[in-house]
Amino acid sequence: MRRSLDLRPADPASGTLSGSDQAYELHGVYFCYGNPLARDVRWVLSNLNVQVESGEILGIVGPNGSGKTSLVKLLAKLAVPGRGALSLFGRNLDDLSQAEAARTVAFVPQDSAPAFSFTVAETVLMGRYPHRRQSRWSLGFGWEDRDDCAAAAQAMATMDIGHLASRAVTDLSGGECQRTMIARALAQTPRVLLLDEPTAFLDLQHQIEICSVLRRLRDEHGLTVVIVSHDLNLASQYCDRIVMLKEGSVYARGTPSEVLSVETLRAVYGCEVLIDPHPESGLPRITLPRQGLPFRV
């Protein structure tokens, strides 16, 4: 039973446009690295049932090795579920070509700066790749047209890197580089933006900047954002909903106030933290205990 591969398409009822207010729908999704039919299969993700609403910022949090990155790779179609159904705006993700998916979903991995000294503008324009048609006789040049330049320029303006256009990406600081990579993703003109640890290695100012930009894109243009993050405070302040993973399955889900409780964090992370309302937003604020001296709450 467990070893049978479920290749059924998504439920026909969910395969209609009426379900399209949901960006993603995961039904009983299992995932493992390697062969899902192997006898000793070890599922990295098991029995996930997750909905991502269109136009929300969803945070995926959890301890190391809880399957956060695997989940976001599934959403980006970089990995295929071993079992279960995964649909994007009501269409089975399996049925879409990678290029089709890339016109709807943009993915920014943790560390993806180009290996060579491309300029910032060239890097951002790479995001236009899924929008170009490769003609058989074109020798693959595919010069950028007005649409491409407009999308790239707008993405660069959004991420405030217009002034860096002709700088080499290899010469940028960490923050500038991350903004370039997000601009590259925005140049894809996606409806869904998937970010894996977008604020790791960034200083405070850049963390806040990137999160505010994401909120603005969500508010003004209905962009759906899925963020994988280790930073629970950031997730609390900037995400509409949070999915907390533990050992490959969903432990808790809901608004930050619902998910981020002392009990949940104790169960998931195995440590005591102090949680109080954020003085500004009233959302949960997590404070680490002094070493060896857990807070008594």
Partner: protein, 386 residues
């Protein structure tokens, strides 16, 4: 005329499947008409044309200069006279001009052309491998692909496959098989998880080079002495004037490989982001990797079977060209190809003229130029490799 953004690459959508509500059909609101030009920040067809045009002119001029030099200097007037009489097919009675004509048409012209062609191939393969491995030090010679191909050719020669009429069709094939085996081994050795750490790629290349060199030396030492000397000279990397039919076959073979590489230029750009991001942008990375490995082995195998192991062109040229014109492979690949051709053409002219009456294997010259450059990259430009 490019299709506007948002058109599906698949011409016919699956029947009955609802299409994705695509934002790209109507440009989303946050893509307003802020049409800011990227002055000087991106490659334009104009810039491409200017750079490729001027490089072609330089290549032609230098080809003429290379044709002039040799054991006997040929003046420009004579040279043009011979070329035009050969082109327009009017025989001349001047015996002086006839000697010149034989030297020029039977010896120098094919050799200069061969040098150019081999330089083009080595530099192109270098660009492609560097992009694929995301490693500015990749080069068929450094990665052991050349020695793999050389081993294939040496085995073929040892077992007498290469001395028959089939010489031209089989030696490159043996080189191709050897080169491909080397590439696959390097890749397998270096790939940890889904990353290719720069230093493990180099290390794998070094190990492979050592093993293959030992095997080649073994083969050379059990050959008859007179054959082994020729083998040594070939291994060092040297060009000889080929016969025209052979040259034509080789050119066709190499051009096919080059066209396949040149079709990948945009994909090579996106691959610089890394394999996974490239895949998320819709690049079929497995297919691209297979294609580039095959074509690289194909080109290297053919080149090695003709000219032995000419090293470092695949590394120096792309790197130097990238420093000057930028990293966009749409220009980097063809420009490196031309510069590589020019470089080897000139290096070979030096090899055959500076030490008259003896002739130096051109591989020595490229290695003497490339080795120090390699050290420079490794030691002084570490920052670029991290």
């Amino acid at each position: 005329m490019m299709p506007s953004a948002g058109h599906s690459t698949s011409p016919v959508p699956a029947v009955g499947s609802p299409s994705l509500p695509s934002t790209t059909m109507q440009t989303p609101a946050y893509m307003t008409e802020d049409d800011r030009p990227f002055e000087g920040a991106v490659l334009t067809p104009m810039r491409w044309g200017v750079i490729m045009g001027s490089l072609s002119v330089v290549a032609l001029l230098l080809a003429v200069v290379c044709l002039q030099f040799g054991t006997q200097y040929i003046g420009l007037g004579n040279l043009l006279g011979v070329l035009s009489s050969a082109l327009f097919d009017h025989p001349s009675d001047d015996t002086m001009l006839n000697t010149t004509s034989v030297i020029l048409l039977q010896v120098r012209l094919p050799r200069v052309f061969l040098g150019f062609l081999i330089g083009v191939c080595l530099a192109s393969v270098g660009v492609a491998l560097q992009a694929l491995l995301r490693n500015p030090l990749a080069d068929p010679y450094v990665l052991g692909v050349s020695s793999g191909a050389a081993l294939g050719v040496a085995l073929a020669v040892l077992f007498g496959i290469g001395t028959t009429v089939l010489a031209f069709s089989l030696l490159p094939v043996c080189g191709f098989l050897g080169g491909l085996a080397a590439l696959l081994v390097v890749y397998r050795m270096a790939a940890t998880y889904d990353r290719l750490p720069i230093h493990s790629v180099l290390l794998a290349g070094v190990i492979l080079n050592a093993i293959f060199s030992a095997l080649i030396m073994f083969i050379t030492s059990i050959m008859e002495p007179n054959r082994s000397f020729g083998m040594m000279a070939w291994l060092m990397g040297s060009l000889t004037a080929p016969a025209y039919p052979a040259l034509a076959v080789l050119s066709a073979y190499l051009l096919l490989g080059l066209v396949l590489l040149f079709k990948q230029v945009r994909v090579l750009n996106v691959l610089a982001l890394g394999e996974e991001p490239a895949r998320s942008l819709g690049v079929d990375t497995e297919r691209t990797k297979r294609l580039i490995f095959l074509v690289s082995a194909l080109l290297t195998g053919a080149v090695v079977s003709v000219s032995g192991m000419i090293g470092f062109i695949g590394m120096i040229i792309p790197h130097a060209v990238r420093l000057v014109i930028g990293a966009d492979h749409r220009l980097l690949l063809p420009a490196s190809a031309l510069v590589g051709g020019i470089f080897l053409m000139v290096a070979d002219t030096i090899a055959r003229t500076f030490f008259v009456p003896s002739e130096v294997p051109v591989g020595i010259i490229t290695a003497l130029a490339g080795g120090p450059f390699f050290v420079y990259l490794l030691v002084w430009r570490k920052d670029r490799l991290a």
